[in-house]
Amino acid sequence: MERDQDEVAFPKELVSKLLHEHLKNEKMRVSADALLLLAELLKVFVREAAARTARQALVEDITVGDVEQVEKILPQLLLDF
């Protein structure tokens, strides 16, 4: 996709492998479009995790987001995805 050219994104092959690693049914196939969309979803997930961690750090008036901040934002993050 053109709009992702200069952006970091999950490669299709990696998404495919991640998915097949966890699929129970070996015969289940995944369409190429679905892989692209899932890559986008994963990207949003990671960026949300990072952005919420950063915001939590700013709220606590520190400039380094650490595991403690990740732990704080984790429950709501998992409820949103």
Binding site: A34, K43, A54, D66, E71
Partner: protein, 135 residues
């Protein structure tokens, strides 16, 4: 049997490393944006969460596809993953429309090519089937 387990272990280690790399770069983007740094442990935690989240995504996608009596996971299944947040659903729907339009365009191009250039079918199934071999 033990070798099998070892192989499985090293494969998931490699996948985790790949996820970690991407998560690292994404976090760097956010860090530049928000002017907050992330500790190595925080990035490792986020990549571990992402890897586990993939497991739950995979399980959900599988049952969604099966519920629709399909054996192929498609974009509708992925859209359902984003059902919990309205703005996320809107974003994912928009992306799905873009992807659908894109692949339609490519199919049209391919049709034109094969119409004028005869039997050029070397890459014809490249975008529908993903081989498991490469790493």
């Amino acid at each position: 049997m033990a070798e099998d387990q070892e192989e499985q272990f090293s494969r998931s280690q490699r996948l985790k490393a790949a996820v970690h790399y991407i998560v690292g770069s994404l976090c760097q983007e956010v860090a530049d944006d928000k002017e907050v740094h992330f500790s190595k442990q925080a990035i490792a935690a986020i990549s571990e969460i992402t890897f586990r989240q993939c497991e739950s995504f995979a399980k959900d996608l599988e049952v969604f596809a099966r519920h629709a009596k399909r054996t192929t996971i498609n974009m509708d299944d992925v859209k359902l993953l984003a059902r919990r947040s309205r703005s996320l659903y809107a974003h994912i729907s928009k992306c799905s429309d873009e992807i659908a339009a894109n692949s339609l365009e490519q199919k049209e191009k391919k049709k034109k090519k094969s119409g004028s250039g005869g039997n050029v079918s070397r890459n014809s199934d490249m975008d529908t089937v993903f081989p498991e071999s490469k790493d």
